[in-house]
């Protein structure tokens, strides 16, 4: 199968955020990385586009994303002081949405920085 080559890809594994990586991938996985270090290489190879996990889980049982979104909204809405935590391995666009959500549900938003 023809491999797709992605030039100047960005590695997010460590704070160096190297943006000069070349990736060779098929439809499901990255098969070759150039210029990434060992940590970056295993990061890229570790994630695939396969469907390895259920779309969502509610109480450990497979559910649809719609159901899970509704359940999440219900829990967060009913909480007095919900916590929104993490924000490390997500994009800035996601972080912005997370702050907006926290404001609406009246919670605390926090990241690894506080540890």
């Amino acid at each position: 199968m023809e491999l797709t080559i992605t030039k100047n890809a960005t590695c997010t594994f460590c704070g160096c955020v190297c943006d000069d990586i070349e990736l060779h991938s098929d439809a499901e996985r990255i098969v070759e990385t150039k210029r990434a270090c060992i940590l970056g290489e295993s990061w890229f190879r570790n994630h695939t586009a396969e469907r390895l996990y259920p779309d969502a889980l509610i109480d450990g049982k497979p559910a649809t994303v719609d159901e899970a979104v509704e359940a999440a909204a219900e829990y967060l809405y009913n909480a007095h002081l919900p916590l929104v935590y993490g924000l490390s391995n997500v994009t800035c666009e996601t972080q912005r949405e997370a702050v907006a959500l926290t404001e609406m549900i009246g919670g605390v938003v926090d990241s690894h920085t506080s540890l």
Binding site: T10, G15, V17, A49, Y53, N78, V90, S111
Partner: protein, 317 residues
């Protein structure tokens, strides 16, 4: 970080002739830091690359990064603050007590040489890692190091930069600063932002049992936090967004699988020097992105009645 004397990694590459790493092990934790930004690259004002630069490593043990260093200074554990204070005195030509110097595990000659090298550098940089900021003294250590960098500017150009870890933690600080005015641990429960580390930081909140629901994204606290904090996450309804079913997912009520950032999810992330970089994901995920899921949760909550109590009618008369 307000008032921090810092720069970009591009400036380090093009200008820095003295590079100090303090309490960090880039050889193992940031493997391309030396080769891409700091040590080995040739820069505009560093024509000979590595030969034009001096690297000093300060740490409590000899890590693999010591091999790359010209000078390795082994400070006694938990004496970073003392060592920084002595250096701040030495650069100003003040006398220091012999027993204070002895406490650090280093000699006066070593510390004087270090201070002189910093003063004589054309462009110096202090990179500091968790070995400084997460050990005894914590943010006081970081503050002492940032003060040292600021004070060195009376003699030469000197900057400081934290060696940030995983992924987009830097972006988290930047985005929270931009949207709320504070970098982390922001409490919005009164409808306006309040910041008080130790009170509104996650571990403290969870240990006190203050939260009655949690949304975890881009992190796996179930693998990293103190056990009592994890126990509280298991007690309350926890929701996890993650590309994998994580430790935290296993103790959560709701898990939603999302596309992996930079692999199959596009967007922007910040480098440790606060430079935003676009992602170029090579794969297409069968799962939605975190951004999309958070937005969908937002919309689902927005459909419900407002949580604020109705306004009290104004007193007549």
């Amino acid at each position: 970080m307000g008032g921090k004397v810092t720069c970009t990694l591009g400036e380090v590459k093009n200008r820095a002739d003295l590079i100090v790493y303090w309490g960090g092990n880039p050889a193992e934790c940031h493997p391309r830091h030396f080769t891409k930004y700091t040590l080995t690259q040739k820069g505009k004002f560093i024509p000979k690359g590595r030969k034009d630069r001096t690297m000093i490593l300060v740490d409590i043990r000899e890590t693999p990064s010591a091999k790359a260093a010209d000078i390795f200074l082994q400070v006694r554990p938990n004496k970073d603050f003392e060592m920084l204070s002595i250096l701040r005195a030495l650069i100003k030509g003040q006398r220091v007590h012999a027993e204070r110097v002895a406490e650090t595990g280093l000699t006066l000659e070593q510390l004087t040489d270090f201070a002189e090298r910093m003063k004589k550098a054309r462009f110096g940089v202090l990179f500091f890692g968790m070995g400084l900021s997460m050990t005894r003294g914590k943010h006081m250590n970081s503050a002492a190091l940032l003060s040292l960098a600021a004070e060195l500017n009376a003699f030469t150009k000197f900057v400081a930069m934290p060696m940030r870890g995983h992924g987009n933690v830097t972006g988290g600080d930047v985005i929270m600063r931009w949207t709320t005015g504070y970098p982390f641990g922001v409490n919005l429960s009164r409808g306006y932002p309040r910041f008080n580390p130790g009170e509104f930081s996650t571990v403290d909140l969870l240990l006190r049992g203050d939260n009655d629901a949690a949304l975890i994204l881009g992190a796996d606290p179930g693998a990293t936090m103190p056990q009592p904090a994890i126990d509280h996450l298991a007690r309350i309804p926890t929701i996890v967004l993650d590309p994998k079913v994580t430790h935290t997912s296993r103790l959560s009520r709701v898990h939603i699988t999302t596309a992996a950032t930079g692999i199959s999810a596009p967007g922007t992330v910040y480098r440790m020097d606060e430079i935003p970089l676009p992602l170029r994901p090579p794969l297409k995920s069968p799962y939605p992105t975190d951004e999309e899921v958070v937005r969908r949760i937002y919309k689902a909550v927005a459909k419900k009645p407002m949580w604020l109590p109705p306004e009290e009618p104004a007193a007549k008369g």
